[in-house]
Amino acid sequence: MLRWIVWRDLMLAWRRRSDMLSTVFFFVIVVSLFPLGIGPETQLLRSIAPGVVWVAALLASMLSLGRLFANDYQDGTLEQLLLTPQPLSLVVLGKVLAHWIVAEIPLVLIAPLVGAQFDLSSNTLLVLLVSLVIGTPILSLIGAVGAALTLGLRGGGVLISILILPLYIPALIFGAGAVEATIIGMSPAPHLYLLGAFAIISLLFSPWAASAALRISLE
């Protein structure tokens, strides 16, 4: 069942490729604005790079999260998904997985490229990539709770940012922390372990919380 939901959402995303591309372009542009604005001060650029890339990733995922359930809600397919025999948290997990593949993986893959503008070493870029691989599932998972809570509300897009961005802070601290540690010559491992732990916790709680929120939103 899970594979049908993932496959369905991937196919829908493929048919609306422009949505996916706009998220990636947003990420690239936001990250690129900093080196352009600050100028060629490599020391400064290197020290702000981890934070800038991570914050841009958080903001970019905000763009796509609003659509996670809203489209299905509008055409009535979400109701039908609620009435399928599998547990709703599994449905949510399938949608989150599809969202991660569609909206987050392109960011992860392009991050080393945009990170190169900040004069980071190849080792640092690798750690940036790894931190995003571990950290971006957190963005999709926690974001799903926010998307479910704000479903059907007017101005939900702004509300979801206010609700969810504070919850992203641990991911931001440890994700950017891992990259900073590498820049100053320390091991990124402790940060990455904590980031991984946070990912597991959100994997355990988010599908359950999001499905509870969805039931309330659809009453």
Binding site: M1, M11, L12, D75, G76, T77, E79, Q80, L83
Partner: protein, 196 residues
């Protein structure tokens, strides 16, 4: 209960196989709420719903597999073609449908030649027909249809009527909220009128 308002109370009925219930009542009388309660999307403020002697809240998945609910919105994805919509909707409900069966169902609903067109190119009524094609393939016992005849032409209403008749002959139950009269030649017809 919607908000502070009590829509209906003291509602008590049981249905045997092969029964068709025509649910009528003015706008806002609670037809949709009743159907949503019956399918489990909405919890009743008081009371219980039993399916084959067991409370639907304790049955959960077993009950869901016996019910097909269709709401105001057809639940058809614009980006997917008619045939993809049909196959995915069924697969998510645990019924895997092969391509020829799906095409045959769409043909019966009068969508021949439009099977692989993205649904956004279909008219409102045609989209409704795509949604209704699910009834041919779903194989559930209880149908809850909410105003599914809106934006359908005469021919399509006739199709829905024959689908419901076949369903009743297979010992199914159908509860249909509608403003149009449906005269069925099979099964037992009951009327339930809600008032405001």
């Amino acid at each position: 209960m919607r908000g502070d308002r009590r829509l209906f109370s003291g509602l008590d009925f049981s249905l045997s196989p092969g029964t068709f219930v025509q649910l009528t009542g003015p706008n806002g009388s609670g037809k949709t709420s009743l159907l949503r309660i019956l399918c489990g999307l909405l919890a009743p403020a008081e009371g219980n719903i039993f399916w084959q002697g067991a409370d639907i809240r304790s049955l959960r998945e077993d009950y869901v597999t016996a019910v097909t609910y269709m709401g105001h919105r057809p639940g058809v994805k614009d980006e997917l073609s008619a045939v993809e919509n049909l196959r995915i909707a069924n697969a998510l409900n645990g019924v895997e449908v092969n391509q020829p069966d799906a095409l045959a169902a769409l043909q019966r609903m009068g969508l021949k030649g439009r099977e692989s067109l993205p649904a956004r190119f279909l008219s409102e009524g045609q989209r409704r027909r795509v949604a209704l094609a699910r009834l041919i393939l779903c194989g559930t016992r209880l149908w809850l249809l909410d105003e599914v005849m809106t934006s359908l032409d005469k021919g399509a209403v006739e199709l829905v009527r024959s689908l419901i008749e076949e369903h009743l002959q297979r010992d199914g139950i159908a509860i249909v909220a509608t403003h149009q009269e449906l005269e069925l030649s099979a099964g037992v017809t009951k009327r339930l009128e809600l008032t405001t």
